[in-house]
Amino acid sequence: MSKSTIKVALIGNPNVGKTSVFNQLTGLNQQVGNYPGITVEKKQGASKLSDNVKAKIIDLPGTYSLNASSIDENVVIELLLNKKDEDFPDVAVVVTEVENLKRNLLLFTQIKDLEIPTILVINMADRMSLKGIEFDLPILERELKTKIALVSSRKKTGISELKSLILNYESLSTEPCLNASVIDPDYFNNLRRAFPNQLLYKLWLVITQDVNFLNLERNEIKNSFTKSHSDLKRLQQKETIKRYQFINDTLKIGQKIDASKATDLRAKLDRVLTHKVFGYLIFFGILMLIFQSIFDWSKIPMDFIDETFTSLSAYTKNHLPAGEFTNLLSEGIIPGISGIVIFIPQIAFLFLFISILEESGYMSRVVFLMDKIMRRFGLSGKSIVPLISGTACAIPAIMSARNIENWKERLITILVTPFTTCSARLPVYAILISLIIPEERVFGFLSLQGLTLMLLYLIGFGMAVLSATLLNYFLKLNCKSYFVIEMPSYKVPMFKNVALNVIEKTKAFVTGAGKIILALSIILWFLGSHGPTNNFKNADAIVLQELELSQNIASIEPELIENKISSYKLEHSYIGILGKAIEPAIRPLGYDWKIGIAVVSSFAAREVFVGTLATIYNVGNHSDEEVTIKNRMAAEINPVTGEKIFNFASGISLLLFYAFAMQCMSTIAIVKKETNSWKWPLIQFVFMSGFAYLTALIAYQILK
């Protein structure tokens, strides 16, 4: 064997189970990253082929052909055309599936034209008898000039055969399986003569595609061989017809279908799931189930996490030697980490549901059901996926808008998605609701607090739809509207795929958002426990002196004195000074300077709100008891009026502010990347935050 590591690229159409094959080959041995400079996910893994040879496997984004129409698909072409890329494969594994083999083979014939050693995987072999399909593998291998592995990633069969084919990749044919240049012989002969050292199909891809292509001067090719867009498309059509002719001829001799044996579950399920009444009922039922799991089921692990961290913080403070480091740990880092960990249950539930819906094939039916309705608001049926995933996190949601073909619909989707109630808002909502809404039930069973939360979700969706309508009206973009969506067959989701997906997405969120939250909580702790003036340094003496002047100090409880000192300190710390400076701007909304600090730091990420208040109050509270953040908030009193700081009016005003404001740096960054300009994230930021300020102002002034 000449190599100890074989580089393998997994290529295939969406919905063929490519990722399942990847999971079977690599097990837990995989890493997810990004391609440099773009936000396309890069999945890699290692697979042991024999005792001394392993494979490095890259799971490339799903694509229907080598004619790219999105940045995800560009990745595939850019890799396959660039022999100098460190990931350029030794062997390409094209994954197809039993039921859609005809369409899947189109991509296969294109890959073969690149003259890379290629293996054909026919996945979902367990469905063959169900569909009455049989293959003559020797004939198919001869016609397609390849080796075939018949795999069932569900039943875990065929994987070892695939591994041995990869191991022996050097014996694979690199001959194309058809000659597509017959569609315009003159044109292609000239092209061949002009660039005798280049692969003809490669040249053709460079002419028709808009991808980065390193080793060829594309201008040179373009000038002499350029054609009008319409002519090129006609040629591409001819090319596609040619390829399908070849595929049809091949399958005629290599595949047998006994239609009478086929059971059609798809038709039966479609009839119900896309029904004009039941279809919507089922969809809303599923949505209710998802929200139920976020509100209710994740409450138990979340309360547990909250209490654990509160006692951990108290424990550290009591058992470590007193000093700066202990304070940083118990008042900065532990509450900071707690603010991240507490999200895990909700995020995991959301990604669990979303990946089940996608894996099962149901999501496409929802897109189909909702397209006409969504279009009324300038959105696409495909906007449903970002809007639902937006309830977990706007970042993956905005990235999932990529498969919306129409730019205007995609742009509007990107701009309005941050209005949906993401999980970062939940802890803010949860704590505020529990402070200002009484724990009562209407009609005996509907929790008032639950209803308020539900209402906030509806406000978020409502605002998304409303602003989409406005954008649709004002945006003057003339985009050719088209919409193509595959309706995959229904499948029972595979546990391994769903589990890996949930773990990976949750991990990405926690590490991504976690870094910001942790850094901010350390900074906030520092700013809150240090001050520039002598007032801060001599806080003890000043407070004691004041108290002595006003009354008999012996009659005051020591704890109260302690509290007075710490709040005096906080007021004169860096953060206090900063908070006081912005107070005039937020006072009309009903907030004091402590809330102001929390709101301002939330512009990095919303979930920082609770953590910031936790840090601020912890800093201001030196009693060693375990006090949960909620109790501390409820006890906050306005020193001037004697009223509670978190009352109904200021609470509602805060809720509305968080519902609408664009407070997430990562979202702004992703919008910039996806729209390729600062214009859109800026407009989004100003509009959302301005609107938030205005509604919060109005709400407080009416309610106070």
């Binding site: 498309k233 596609t240 509207s481």
Partner: protein, 78 residues
């Protein structure tokens, strides 16, 4: 008999006879929406749009405005 695809009723089938290449996305061509291929309307979404087809064994949904660009020769029922 030829019929515009946007006028199809649920269950109608035939073979594609003509497409307007300029108005049809390449992706749809690649899914098999090409002259000579079989097509059947499986379902129309509530409110009359989009359409859900079996095209050349691919199951695909497209909007009515795209369907307008496709002419089909109906399969003669015997």
């Amino acid at each position: 008999m030829e019929k515009n695809l946007s006028n199809f009723k649920k269950g109608e089938k035939g073979y594609i006879s003509e497409i307007n290449v300029d108005e049809i996305p390449l992706k749809l061509l690649e899914m098999g929406c090409l002259p000579g291929n079989f097509i059947e309307l499986i379902q129309i979404a509530p409110f009359g749009d989009p359409y859900y087809f079996n095209i050349n064994d691919s199951h695909v949904a497209i909007r009515k405005e795209t369907a307008k660009e496709i002419i089909v020769t109906l399969e003669t029922t015997i």
